[in-house]
């Protein structure tokens, strides 16, 4: 395989895209390559990595805004903003546990995959925190979308369209993101031994309360303890958190005894939830990420029956992580169950052969697919960029 292209400037990206377009070849766009196992298996294509576009362009702490090249690593960004007591509000998932690939996750990969972590219900998805993007479309044209300000409705919102587009509409070269103050303290309330229905009920009570719950997850027995754990996180200023935690614990007391975790014990646990560590092993299993209304999580899991080899809940039940056998039969069971739960599922990890045989992303309606293909063509008429990564022809 030819060596990966590593453009250092936007102009290099333009040149690479134009060259591929004129030669009639395809480009396989990656950041650090750490999530290369996600998406439909790639066709024969020349790899283009944005990892050399890695500088921080500006960081304005008083505006809670940072702009960096698409190849900047999440680690570098988090380190830079931590110095000013800030953080990425949406807790982007880190890929190492699930895919075990090398490479550092980057800003561009974070935007392209839109995989938010436990704070999603209260702080929004990655796409909610992206203010602006620069990309090069499949025609080799540099396109700026959005900007650096939090309120901007000027023209079509091509920022959102490119978030979660898996690099199929453009090679991301730069992103401007909205930050949040890093919570001064965090406390996690833990209830042991609840089954999913009770756990979802308790988490619904929590997320519907005014106490500012910023994480609500349920871990099955065997995930760190031999009993199930229902976790709810409260973050904030030291002066206010004790009062909130105390009254919140009373509110959910009827569901069971409540114990508390704080500091590093709490943050380590939530990092494991964020990265789906609990179902990453054994590595020959397929892993699914399922979005649905929290109240449907229980019946969804029940409908999976023995097809689920392991699962846990995040987002108060609105996100179900499921491990199954890496088989087409298991995939169709998941698709059927998710359809009746009115949700959608992504096959996050599976061997290439399975990802070639079944849909990786939730199949769209006929009209949805038609529109998706037209949008793809409006950015990349010759299908140069990550062609077919999401759907056939997209």
């Amino acid at each position: 395989m030819t060596e990966a292209l590593k453009p250092e400037r936007e102009a290099d990206v333009v040149e690479a895209v134009l060259a591929a377009r004129h030669a009639g070849t395809k480009l396989d766009i990656v950041g650090g390559g750490s999530k290369a196992g996600l998406g439909r298996p790639r066709a024969e294509a020349r790899r283009l990595s944005s990892s050399a576009l890695s500088g921080i362009v500006f960081y304005a702490p008083a505006e809670m805004t940072l702009c960096a090249g698409a190849g900047a690593t999440i680690a570098a960004i988090e380190a830079a903003v931590a110095e000013h007591g800030q953080t990425l509000p949406f807790e982007p998932m880190r890929p190492h546990a699930l895919w075990g690939a090398g490479g550092e996750p980057t800003l561009g990969g974070m935007v392209a995959t839109n995989l938010a972590g436990p704070r999603r219900p209260s702080a929004g998805a990655v796409r909610d925190g992206v203010l602006g993007l620069k990309l090069v479309n499949g025609l080799g044209e540099p396109i700026r979308c959005g900007g650096r300000v939090m309120k901007n409705v000027t023209g079509l919102d091509l920022v959102k369209l490119n978030c979660g587009a898996h690099g199929t509409l453009g090679v991301l070269t730069e992103a401007t993101i909205k930050l949040a103050p890093r919570p001064e303290t965090e406390t996690t309330l833990v209830m042991a031994g609840l089954g999913e229905p009770k756990a979802v009920e308790a988490m619904t009570r929590g997320l519907g309360s005014p106490f500012g719950v910023t994480g609500a997850a349920w871990l099955a027995p065997g995930m760190g303890r031999d009993f199930s754990r229902t976790l709810m996180r409260i973050e904030g200023f030291a002066e206010s958190i004790d009062d909130r935690v105390g009254r919140f614990a009373a509110l959910i007391g009827e569901f069971g005894e409540v114990s508390r975790l704080s500091g590093e014990d709490s943050s380590t646990l939530w990092r494991s939830v964020r990265d789906a560590e609990f179902i990453a092993e054994p590595r020959d299993r397929a892993v699914w990420r399922v979005n649905l209304a929290p109240s449907r999580a229980g019946s969804f899991v029940a409908a999976l029956g023995a097809t689920s080899l392991a699962h846990f809940l995040d987002w108060g039940g609105g996100l179900v992580w499921v491990a199954t056998a890496a088989s087409e039969a298991a995939a169709s069971t998941v698709r059927r169950a998710v359809a009746s739960a009115k949700g959608h599922a992504t096959l996050m990890r599976a061997p290439d052969s399975l990802r070639a045989a079944v849909e990786v992303f939730e199949p769209p309606s006929a009209l949805g697919l038609t529109l998706s293909r037209r949008l793809k063509q409006s950015f990349d008429p010759d299908g140069v960029l990550n062609f077919g990564r999401m759907y056939d022809g997209v």
């Binding site: 091509l158 609105g318 949700g343 309606s365 063509q377």
Partner: protein, 477 residues
């Protein structure tokens, strides 16, 4: 931008008007079709009242299926379509023309489902913004985006413009609070985008449709997020002797890791106008005033206000007033929320909506004042300081044609300055017809063409809400 142009009319449509109205009458009951001139007059403009064009006809569908039938008919007849909610657009987003049919969604105003466990409401597009919060308030929930027109404006219009409000510093704007929409395309096909889940699959069509100013399809239903009401909310008023002190106070609060739910700024003229109207107890002897609101339990609000108060003190705050009661809080907000209406009692005005990075606010305010003074006009500033979304109200006399042109020119110059400072033309009002010709100041030709190709993926002939958003160029009459 002076004097907004409209495209040439399609005379063949005008000539076939009677036949088109006849076809509409064949598929709609009489109460859902307005064809007479006096009835149509009510739909000739929106809140950009300086411009008025009579539509060919107005339809008021009662269901998604009726919207689909009307759109198919319009596509077959090659008639332009202008979607409309309550008609509160400040940018002329709902202004029609003589060759266009207005589809207004106000008859579709039902709340279809409230699901508190999953924290969403499914509503028809014509329901008003405030009606959603009112429907779920007793249960301890609300719908967060709160444009000043929330009593009247519809959720469909909010989605069209991606509306914001005073409290979006904490809760985000419409696009951050939307889970799904039912969209009818010009072909009359129905597409459900998103749904009950927190993220939607595939391309983010929901994010694309939100803020597309009615040019991709007509939204007939929406699923919106409901958020638990905070235990309490408390605003505090700060008066400053200089604009710089007020602006730096805003930056220092955010820099200290505090995100209040709202930070509103008013300058001296705006304070006077609002105080005369609302008697909110605003200080009249300061150059700049901030309304900062925090939320939470008493303990939490107390802690946050103590920190904010210390920062304000370090920035030479002159007067400080913490609300002591719900009534006092309501009064403080009444002044701010009635700013546009109160200004309208004093003079005619145009309200600009550019955004600048918050670090550039003092410079932006100074230059706004200089620009307006250079045209011999007065300006009152009242805006969302936490996110840099400015709302200069440029005062003029609507009966003085020359002054109206000056006001529009001053407004355009202010918006160009916003772009130059790293901001944008519009933060929450939309481009509409008003800022259409300024788009090339913010976007390159290549970027505008990319946006137009995206629009064409939904509507190749540009029949939906034509003459909005994109510069007219040679199509101008």
């Amino acid at each position: 931008m002076s004097h907004i142009a409209f495209p040439r009319l399609d005379e063949t449509i005008i000539a076939r008007r009677a036949a088109i109205v006849g076809r509409l009458a064949a598929i709609l009951p009489p109460e859902c079709l307005i064809a007479d001139e006096s009835g149509r007059r009510a739909f000739e403009t929106d809140a950009l009242t300086a411009y008025r064009r009579l539509p060919l006809a107005v339809v008021l569908p009662r269901s998604t299926e009726e919207v689909a039938r009307v759109l198919r008919l319009c596509r077959d007849e090659m008639v332009n379509v202008v979607p409309r909610g309550a008609g509160t657009s400040l940018s002329g987003g709902a202004i029609p023309q003589e060759d266009a049919v207005v589809i207004t969604l106000t008859k579709m105003s039902r709340i279809l489902e409230v699901n508190l466990a999953d924290r969403y409401a499914r509503v028809e597009a014509g329901v008003t913004n405030l009606a959603i919060s009112e429907a779920v308030g007793a249960e301890g929930f609300f719908y967060a985006p709160d444009p000043s027109s929330q009593l009247a404006c519809t959720i469909g219009g909010n989605i069209g413009m991606n509306s914001g409000g005073a409290h979006c510093l904490k809760y985000g704007v419409t696009t951050n609070n939307l889970l799904g929409v039912r969209l009818v395309t010009l072909d009359g096909e129905i597409l459900d985008i998103g749904g009950e889940a927190m993220d939607a699959p595939g391309y983010d069509l929901l994010g694309l449709v939100c803020g597309s100013e009615g040019q991709l399809g007509i939204v007939t239903e929406a699923i919106v997020r409901l958020i638990p009401l905070p235990e309490g909310a408390r605003p505090v008023l700060f008066g400053f002797d200089t604009v710089e002190d007020a602006s730096q106070c805003v930056a220092a609060i955010i820099g200290a890791g505090i995100v209040p739910v709202a930070m509103e700024y008013m300058d001296k003229l705006a304070i006077r106008i609002c105080e005369d109207f609302a008697h909110a107890g605003y200080p009249l002897d300061v150059e700049a005033m901030l309304i900062i609101e925090v939320e939470g339990s008493d303990a939490e609000m107390g802690a946050m206000l103590a920190r904010i108060g210390a920062i304000a003190k370090a920035h030479n705050v002159r007067t400080a007033r913490e609300s002591m009661s719900a009534m006092e809080s309501a009064q403080i907000w009444k002044g701010r929320k009635s700013a546009f209406g109160a200004t309208g009692r004093v003079a005619d005005y145009i309200c600009m909506d550019g955004t600048v990075p918050t670090g550039r606010l003092p410079e932006a305010l100074q230059r706004t004042g200089e620009i307006c003074a250079s045209f011999g006009l007065r300006v009152a500033n009242v805006f969302h300081a936490g996110d840099g979304n400015m709302h200069p109200l440029i005062l003029y006399n609507i009966n003085d044609e020359a002054e109206r042109v000056k006001a529009e020119e001053a407004g355009a110059a202010v918006l160009e300055m916003c772009v130059e400072l790293g901001g944008c033309l519009t933060g929450e009002h939309g481009v509409g017809v008003e800022k259409r010709e300024l788009m090339p100041r913010q976007f390159s030709d290549v970027e505008l063409k990319q946006q137009k190709r995206v629009r064409a993926a939904f509507d190749p002939d540009g029949r939906l809400n034509p003459a909005k958003v994109f510069p007219l160029g040679e199509r101008a009459a």
